[in-house]
Symmetry: D2
Amino acid sequence: MSSQARAVVAGATGYSGRDLIHLLLQHPQLELVGAFASRGGDTVSLATIHPQLTGQTTLACQPFDEAALAKLTPDVIFLGTPNEFSHEVVPALLETGATVVDLSGAYRLHDAALYPKYYGFEHTRPDLLTKAVYGLTEFARAALRGAKLIANPGCYPTSIQIPVLPLIKEGLVADGQPIICDSKSGVTGAGKSPTSTTHFVEVSESFKAYNVFKHRHTPEIAQGLGVPNDAQAIIFTPHLLPINRGILSTIYLKLKQGVTRHDVLRVWQTTFADAPFVRVFAEAQLPEIKFVANTPYCDIGCVVEEKTGQAIIVGAIDNLLKGAASQALQNANVALGFDEKAGMR
Amino acid sequence: MSSQARAVVAGATGYSGRDLIHLLLQHPQLELVGAFASRGGDTVSLATIHPQLTGQTTLACQPFDEAALAKLTPDVIFLGTPNEFSHEVVPALLETGATVVDLSGAYRLHDAALYPKYYGFEHTRPDLLTKAVYGLTEFARAALRGAKLIANPGCYPTSIQIPVLPLIKEGLVADGQPIICDSKSGVTGAGKSPTSTTHFVEVSESFKAYNVFKHRHTPEIAQGLGVPNDAQAIIFTPHLLPINRGILSTIYLKLKQGVTRHDVLRVWQTTFADAPFVRVFAEAQLPEIKFVANTPYCDIGCVVEEKTGQAIIVGAIDNLLKGAASQALQNANVALGFDEKAGMR
Amino acid sequence: MSSQARAVVAGATGYSGRDLIHLLLQHPQLELVGAFASRGGDTVSLATIHPQLTGQTTLACQPFDEAALAKLTPDVIFLGTPNEFSHEVVPALLETGATVVDLSGAYRLHDAALYPKYYGFEHTRPDLLTKAVYGLTEFARAALRGAKLIANPGCYPTSIQIPVLPLIKEGLVADGQPIICDSKSGVTGAGKSPTSTTHFVEVSESFKAYNVFKHRHTPEIAQGLGVPNDAQAIIFTPHLLPINRGILSTIYLKLKQGVTRHDVLRVWQTTFADAPFVRVFAEAQLPEIKFVANTPYCDIGCVVEEKTGQAIIVGAIDNLLKGAASQALQNANVALGFDEKAGMR
Amino acid sequence: MSSQARAVVAGATGYSGRDLIHLLLQHPQLELVGAFASRGGDTVSLATIHPQLTGQTTLACQPFDEAALAKLTPDVIFLGTPNEFSHEVVPALLETGATVVDLSGAYRLHDAALYPKYYGFEHTRPDLLTKAVYGLTEFARAALRGAKLIANPGCYPTSIQIPVLPLIKEGLVADGQPIICDSKSGVTGAGKSPTSTTHFVEVSESFKAYNVFKHRHTPEIAQGLGVPNDAQAIIFTPHLLPINRGILSTIYLKLKQGVTRHDVLRVWQTTFADAPFVRVFAEAQLPEIKFVANTPYCDIGCVVEEKTGQAIIVGAIDNLLKGAASQALQNANVALGFDEKAGMR
């Protein structure tokens, strides 16, 4: 791989797109050569859409156009676009030869049959579902190298799989009790479109559960953990926090008899010894959202009631960074052969 | 006036409508007999629209329908409807013989010529502009008694006129320097429709000025204070606070030579001696939004730099209550001959 | 019981005390005759301590003094005081003959042996622990009538016991899986003392779990539900929400085979048929904190995954009202023979 | 100057100290070699004090000790310490030969006589007040080069002086009307100590003015603008916003007859042509706090009512960055001969 590469962002008007652009603008090896909206409309400067970017780029955001995008000869294309949009454009974008990192859910589930129920559309490319690399970076580095289609994980699944997957892999989790994931997310997770759900007055000074037993991240979590997608194995309840960014998942699971907090920490420390963006909280302090907001980290910690083996695990991320933009960049870095940390502080 | 009366709320789906209904449900003499939306659609229970009201009323909200409304034979009709809607329906509603309290700006300005510029429509009933009573309760009690059309004041103008008007009336304010009103409002002031302006992520952890030199409350404030509607006399800058409810106005004005803080307090205490909902802060403590949120009060306080006569006046209200619903009820109470405080704690 | 009674509040400087005073000031039958701090210091007007109360009362808050309190001949004494303070003063206050409603945890646990571990002090009056009525009003009305010592429930336990207790009593809950209570509270729950935990910057835009497996409300919940105080029966995890007031508990429990959502709703509707302050959410809408904030209600709702019998139950209250002040008043109303709703809107 | 230098931060436990450390950890030429508290106590790892820094540094924060600090042979010493502490230690620290950047107010005012009134202590080193360079970077570059004592500007004064100073220098401002600065700040500006002023419940959902006519930044603003420190020339009213970080100042001033918005923009664009961290908003969009939060920028914009020459100017910064840590680093960069932007994104 050459030491420089060209990047394009489609879906540049949303929050993930904005944060990705912000990261790319200071990446030492990736040059942002184009930005596209996920629909038609006028060409508008990125600084007009995201005044935060004023003075940092003179690039404009164009209406989406495959031919115009291909002409930019990108090495990597990031899609911060809606699920159905990504589903539709990925095949053509792969033909450009670029690596496609899709931040939507369109290519995350291996089983095409789940799409109508959870995403509301028939999946037409089950072949690509097989080929796509699920980019939970810390567990996928080998597959990511040179990958052409990367399905970037969902925000909630990232906060849950990173702490839980090593415990399952190492055989620490007992059978017979569902893994219960009580997750809480800031409002950027609901996207930039104004709806009654994202209205300040409806969110501020309040808190609620939503999509109980129905959220589309449930099958993704089950798939990622390798457990059945049913309430006997996994229960996932998302809630809406009155904050801008951040997810904290409180996870209840039963450890096998005799497994201690020390065992959990040891497995984590071994698994993530070379992971620059996973921080194991080994002391009394548990992860909190403010420690990860505006950072590319996933913080993990746990408390174990050792008589019963009941564990309470806490995973925290910034939903727009490790849950979207920075994990996408981390994946692109690995795919293109750059330092995994390039572009991130 | 009999000791009981019938009330109807049109525009029951918005925040002011909701708070008005909440007040009416515990009013000892006003019975809420009907609720209407400001447009078509289905009839839906109020508790479905505003789950806060669950268990407090079984009333439904109907699509707006003049005939259906008239059949309820209301004594008082509250309009929490958009400006143009109020402009249009008020004449017909007056024919029912009920007292109409309009919470919109449609009948607030005496000069019809201001409507195209500030409200975007031609006013067709300048005759009613003359007849409407501007319901800044504390200054309008005589006119309110038996009034048939009451223009309920805007939220910002209420927070400014209550402290400033007595000082102008009593001749304490010097000429030659504009009265500068730097006002800050919570998001309920922007209404319940989801827009990019009311999106949680755009408001939270931020703050901005908006509609600088252009807000439609400017001519209302000038009219209320009896000063010219130009920047030499009055400057009004609204800002958006990341809170749900409340307005605080910081007002800069120059007092005549020799006028002291004590003089200001004395004028206020005299003016508001019998005003149950104006609280004069006479000690060091200045008004803050948290003291008035969820209350029908207007709190006022001041600091005077006595060498120069420069005064900084602070007025604070709950924009949905003294700035809308509770002042509307206060006005209806006076108009119908009830205790001004009825229905309010 | 006469139709009027005299009330005193000790611990008037805190948030619960303030809200209780606010309720008492509009109670038709209870007259607030005195207010005390929980420590020494000067006598200060309540409006100075809580500027929200300006214009509503001229009463002052005195340093705590048993003799001065007794001289006021109260019929009911509310204690919004710290645990150890309540523990110490309750015996003497009972000698006045008044009904004592203690909002602290000092008399909630039947088992004195739990106090050193959970409250940090030896309980010296196990006899009173036996006599105290645990005032979860909806389940204690008979015992409350004429009661002399009422232990007002904790905020978290209220939000959990109200929805769960009827299901246990009616035998709907399966054995073999802990009842997991993932609870989230606003910051007023942490009290009015400034600490690093309540600092705006540490709370805002963040979220955290705290006191995992160690919170003193755990044994109270176990006692209230009649289950063992261990992690095999009950798991309770409190979290801190960046809001002022409100608790939402998401509760995971397994129903017996064949039990449906309809069964749960039916049990709730029967249990709470005459409960003015419990609202059963029987449609798709689940409780949210904004529906109960500033109200005396407990809202409850559920979703049941019927294949597995896994239930997710949501209970929501205002922690300062149904979780403290309004439940205390509800209990006093029942104890003194008043309408349970008196003083509450 | 060599291409590498050694930096020490004293006052590392506060918010400014934390943000400064965060910047230094990614500075290409400055190495953070030591961190000190502003008082005694234990040596604790920075990651324990600021868990945000977990995984980014293994450095510990020591109790303040001049000798230990000197042994680290720093080229630059940043003081994020209290005013009186800085006042006291600066003379000794200057003897190390390092450049001292003091973020407190101890060396900002040229007139020692102002210290007792505004800072509560007698200034013992008026000679150093004369020598200290007031580090409003954009106006002080020549003096900063090689400077040994830099008084880093206050947060509020930065947000006001950057937009206003060029207009005064270029003679655009009319006499006869005070410059009114209505400023609003997030809570990090109040420091990390828990007080009733910083308690979440006292700040959230509220807003207030404070220190009216008395804030210590008033003489600093007057000095910076070159106008008399009295209410006829300058009025400054600080307010507390319920947000973590950011200041927005709304500034009212009168332009000389005939001066237009275009003239204001032209002066700004000329003045800041080479300023990497000042962004002139020349279109309709005005600065908002969210555009500058977590950035080193000062955004400035204006609206001019051209008939009267009344201007409303908006300046926005992140109070912890351009208002403290990033301006300190910008100043150190200039003093040490590095790129002004080094270490900042």
